[in-house]
């Protein structure tokens, strides 16, 4: 019912506008087409200036309303973000000046040089000097921007510092899996055919001696304030993208082709809550590459904490190996021994070969 009513109203408005416009055509014939054309020209010339003024007012209002809601309202949360913000301001000033100048010229000229019987147009078809000036100025300005940009680009994409903590991020429809290398600080090898969603979500090869202390977590990643983090990014199925909004960085997660990105968080999650005044603030990982119907809900969380808190958290994590093979879990064995039942243990190697074989079938 509501729909029909609104359709009826819209139709009515259309009919009215159409009839008035139709009538204006007849009026112009009565008044003399030339006269009414001149009048229209004046109105549109005036509107050019109105549009220019209202446009700048609009930009001001929009800025007042929404600048505070962008990331730039707060200090960037990563060292990289600081550099990004610096580049933002430089680029904004450069393009902003050009924007304001050219828009004013465009609308002002349109207004000022609107048709006037007494004006003799200036036959001005060519000027090499002018063309050279406005080839050179943009070229020089852009060179400056390119230099700033590339300096930062090579910093962002360059090697992570040696003390960086390494976390492997794997995207899947629709969530994130994080792997920490464990005590040996080396990731075990993985092969996608070993993937078992329940116990081995990234396909770790258990045979590998570095694999057995690897730690897997889902959805939430812990990192330490002030310590560089290097992410090794991959995907299980389609292309995803690790979007770190607050840190001003992102990198695609491509199946079969690992990518990397590194950043240094400056504030803990708690500190950010105070800075933003939002008690629910979290660092979110948003998927920024279309990955299917659940794309919009593919959220991960980064908890930035102090070293002590990180150590406490890490101590609580259990190697994934023991989730895959609960019978190997020292805690479980201890418990079993206490119960007096000791099972005959199969050698580790044999066990995991069996695992690989089943996965390959």
């Amino acid at each position: 019912m509501n729909l029909y009513l609104s359709v009826a109203i819209i139709t009515l408005i259309f009919v009215v506008i159409f009839q008035i416009s139709k009538a204006s055509e007849y009026v112009s014939i009565l008044k003399g087409e030339e006269n009414s054309r001149k009048q229209n020209n004046k109105i549109n010339g005036f509107l050019m200036i109105v549009f220019l003024v209202l446009g700048f007012v609009g930009i001001y209002v929009c800025n007042e309303l929404y600048f505070g809601k962008t990331l730039l309202a707060y200090e960037a949360a990563s060292v990289q973000g600081d550099k990004w913000d610096e580049m933002f301001w430089i680029t904004l000033v450069v393009t902003g000046v050009v924007f304001v100048a050219t828009q004013i010229i465009l609308f002002w000229f349109s207004y000022k040089y609107q048709e006037d019987e007494n004006r003799k147009v200036f036959f001005f078809a060519h000027s090499t000097k002018l063309e050279l000036i406005w080839t050179a100025i943009p070229a020089i300005t852009l060179t400056v921007l390119v230099i700033f940009g590339l300096r930062n680009w090579f910093y962002f994409t360059g090697d992570a510092p040696k003390n960086a903590m390494v976390v492997e991020v794997t995207g899947k429809q629709f969530g994130w899996i994080f792997r920490y290398p464990g005590k040996d600080a080396v990731f075990g090898k993985k092969y996608y055919r070993n993937i078992d969603p329940a116990t081995n979500s990234v396909g770790i090869i258990w045979d590998d001696k570095y694999a057995q202390d690897d730690i897997l977590t889902e959805q939430t990643m812990y990192v330490v304030k002030g310590q560089p983090v290097k992410l090794i990014i991959g995907s299980r199925d389609v292309i995803h993208d690790v979007g770190l909004t607050a840190f001003r960085l992102k990198m695609d997660a491509v199946p079969g082709i690992p990518t990397t990105m590194w950043f240094t968080p400056k504030f803990t999650t708690k500190e950010m809550r105070e800075k933003t005044g939002n008690p629910n603030y979290t660092y979110e990982i948003s998927c920024d590459q279309m990955c299917g119907n659940g794309h919009y809900s593919m959220k991960g969380i980064i908890e930035v904490v102090e070293q002590e808190e990180y150590d406490l958290w890490m101590a609580k994590q259990k190697a994934q190996y023991y989730t895959a093979f609960p019978e190997k879990d020292p805690d479980a064995i201890k418990a079993a021994e206490a119960g007096g039942k000791v099972n005959a243990e199969a050698p580790v190697a044999k066990d995991s070969t069996a695992k690989v074989a089943t996965a390959k079938m």
């Binding site: 416009s21 930009i59 990331l71 000229f109 048709e115 001005f124 491509v254």
Partner: protein
């Protein structure tokens, strides 16, 4: 001279044709399987308009979801059925709408509808030819486009829905049937439609190039061509060189989808299916192939608009276009650079940083010819005598939007800024302003300007003014605030933002944008009414040259038949921009140079 002989032979052939067909034209040969370039242009235009309405309607529907994510609209369910259960668009439907909106607007409206219409209509008329080099191929070009349209349309009615992985169709999402419902039959139909479309655009493009190079009338040297023709020429060259690359990419995609190859696939485990046997492919390869077309495509869309704007601006400022050769040079530079910047769409794919830096340099380089064009347009207005016809208003609007959207291109082309802004609303704002709306403005300018030539009648001016001012204000109201959303990192292609602490602060702004989008869409309906009403009932054109323009199309009769000129094709004696020269308002191209005339 063989060239002239050929021209002459064609002319007389044209005459015969003309006389012969006059009495035997049936409805079918005149309106459906027409080989007259003017009719084919109208076919492209009207098919493009149908798609523009559908594509626009899709954007209204998904804006409804973004603006009112909580609300329920029972009427939606009665129209869309299972795609809007309970009156709310499902994520599946949302992504299908977004994808189809993008595909349709980029390819069917702004490529076929824009250059299909105006290349067909203007090339023979402005260069002084009776028709295209191959009218038959030209007709085929339209019918391939039409078939592509039908296939694309039919994909919307399959059980699993149309393709829903974004208009860029990145594999593996587009390659795996089980990754998304839209990647089943809908995707096969999408590929077939696009393949047919590529054939259409190649048939058209080859024809445009051949016609411009070989069929210019006597005296119409290349440097006397109107800038519209130059722009359409470069557009055709871009299309002919880049569309085949897309086609090859799509063929490999078909193989990966249906015949078990691994061009784009490697190391994949799909939920509910398990590990796939594909190994060794590269998902990034497709992106290279896609963007090798995808970036020139941006200029395929933009160049015709630039050409028409140059022409319309000069005519309505009663002044020559400033810097004809610079305009030409910058068109050429843009066309060349268009092929060398594709990887700026891929800065965050893990591209080698050094390669990335080369693409930064080349991308920002493209801002130089763009800046030259803007300054030349501004100088064209300077000390002119401007008539604000609706066509001229849209041309001015184009320049304003091209500046706004072009400047944000400097942001996104700089990889270090793109690393944060990539795939956010900032990108949506950028390309909608500079490519979407600006080109649409170019198209509107062209329709308003050449409507009298197309139909022998005028569009209603008042409706044109309303159409322009609402659309102009609306374009900025919709897309300007999106820059702020992008600066907050708000990602594209999100169905709902309510679970995100970082993005949900823009709910009110989303509602505002959606409301404006609906008003702007309604205004386009007003334009459609004006268009179709005026075809039949518009004020009749009485002056064969209503805009007092120099170009050759206005030397034809008000309603030119097949063959364009009833007598001889006029000879050209000058460039097309002698406005206000020696105090004379305008001197058409076919007027011989006077003895005491100064050179320009």
């Amino acid at each position: 001279m063989s060239h002239e002989a050929a021209l002459h032979a064609h002319e007389s052939h044209g005459h015969d044709d003309h006389g012969h067909h006059e009495h035997h034209d049936t409805f079918l040969t005149k309106y459906v399987f027409s080989q007259d370039h003017k009719m084919i242009a109208k076919q492209f235009l009207i098919t493009g308009m149908v798609w523009a309405v559908l594509g626009g309607l899709m954007s209204v529907l998904f804006r409804l979801q973004l603006g009112y994510p909580e609300a329920s609209f029972p009427w939606l369910e009665s129209i869309l059925g299972k795609w809007a259960k309970g009156g709310q668009i499902t994520p599946e439907a949302y992504y299908a709408l977004v994808t189809t909106h993008g595909t349709v607007l980029v390819f069917f409206v702004l490529t076929a509808g824009l250059s299909g219409t105006f290349a067909n209509f203007l090339i023979p008329l402005q260069i002084g030819a009776r028709d295209m080099a191959s009218p038959f191929m030209n007709m085929l070009s339209y019918w391939f486009f039409f078939t592509a349209s039908i296939v694309m349309l039919s994909s919307m009615f399959v059980e699993t829905g149309p393709f829903s992985g974004g208009w860029t169709a990145y594999p593996p999402l587009s390659a795996l049937h089980d990754a998304s419902p839209g990647s089943k039959t809908g995707m096969d139909l999408w590929i077939i439609a696009m393949a047919l479309f590529v054939v259409s655009s190649l048939l058209g493009g080859l024809n445009y190039i051949a016609t411009i190079l070989n069929m210019r009338t006597k005296g119409m040297s290349m440097t006397r061509l109107p800038l519209t023709i130059w722009a359409l020429f470069f557009t055709a060259v871009l299309g002919v060189l880049s569309f085949p690359v897309l086609l090859s990419g799509l063929i490999l995609l078909i193989f990966d989808r249906n015949f078990g190859t691994s061009f784009y696939l490697s190391d994949i485990f799909v939920n509910g299916v398990g590990a796939l046997s594909n190994e060794g492919g590269s998902a990034i390869l497709f992106q290279h192939l896609f963007w090798f077309l995808g970036h020139p495509e941006v200029y395929i869309i933009l160049l015709p608009a630039m050409g028409m704007v140059s022409e319309i601006m000069s005519v309505n400022s009663r002044k020559p276009i400033f810097g004809y050769m610079a305009m030409l040079g910058s068109l050429f530079a843009i066309a060349v650079l268009a092929f060398l910047v594709w990887a700026h769409h891929m800065f965050v794919t893990g591209l080698n940083p050094f390669l990335g830096s080369v693409f930064v340099l080349l991308t920002l380089l493209i801002a130089v010819p763009s800046a030259i064009k803007v300054f030349n347009w501004l100088t064209t207005l300077w000390r002119g005598n401007i008539r604000f016809t609706p066509g001229m208003l849209f041309a001015i609007g184009f320049v304003s939007l091209f500046i706004s959207g072009g400047l944000t291109g400097i942001w996104l082309g700089n990889a270090a800024l793109d690393i944060h802004l990539h795939d956010t609303y900032f990108v949506i704002a950028h390309f909608h302003i500079v490519m979407g709306v600006a080109s649409m403005f170019g198209m509107f300018a062209g329709v308003y300007h050449w409507f009298p030539k197309m139909y022998g009648r005028h569009l209603n001016n008042s409706l044109g003014y309303i159409h322009f001012w609402v659309t102009m204000a609306g374009a900025y109201l919709i897309f300007w605030p999106m820059h702020y959303q992008g600066l907050a990192g708000m990602p594209r292609r999100y169905f709902d933002f309510s679970i995100w602490e970082s993005f949900k602060q823009f709910a009110d702004l989303n509602r505002f944008i959606s409301t404006v989008a609906m008003i702007v869409f309604a205004t386009q309906i007003l334009f459609l009414i004006n268009f179709f009403y005026s075809i039949f009932k518009g004020r009749k054109v009485t002056d064969p040259n209503p805009w007092k323009s120099n170009t050759l199309e206005w030397t034809t009769p008000i309603n030119p038949g097949h063959g364009n000129w009833p007598g001889e094709i006029p000879e050209v004696h000058r460039w097309p921009y002698d406005y206000g020269k020696d105090g004379v308002d305008f001197i058409p191209q076919d007027v011989p140079v006077g003895e005491h005339e100064s050179s320009h």
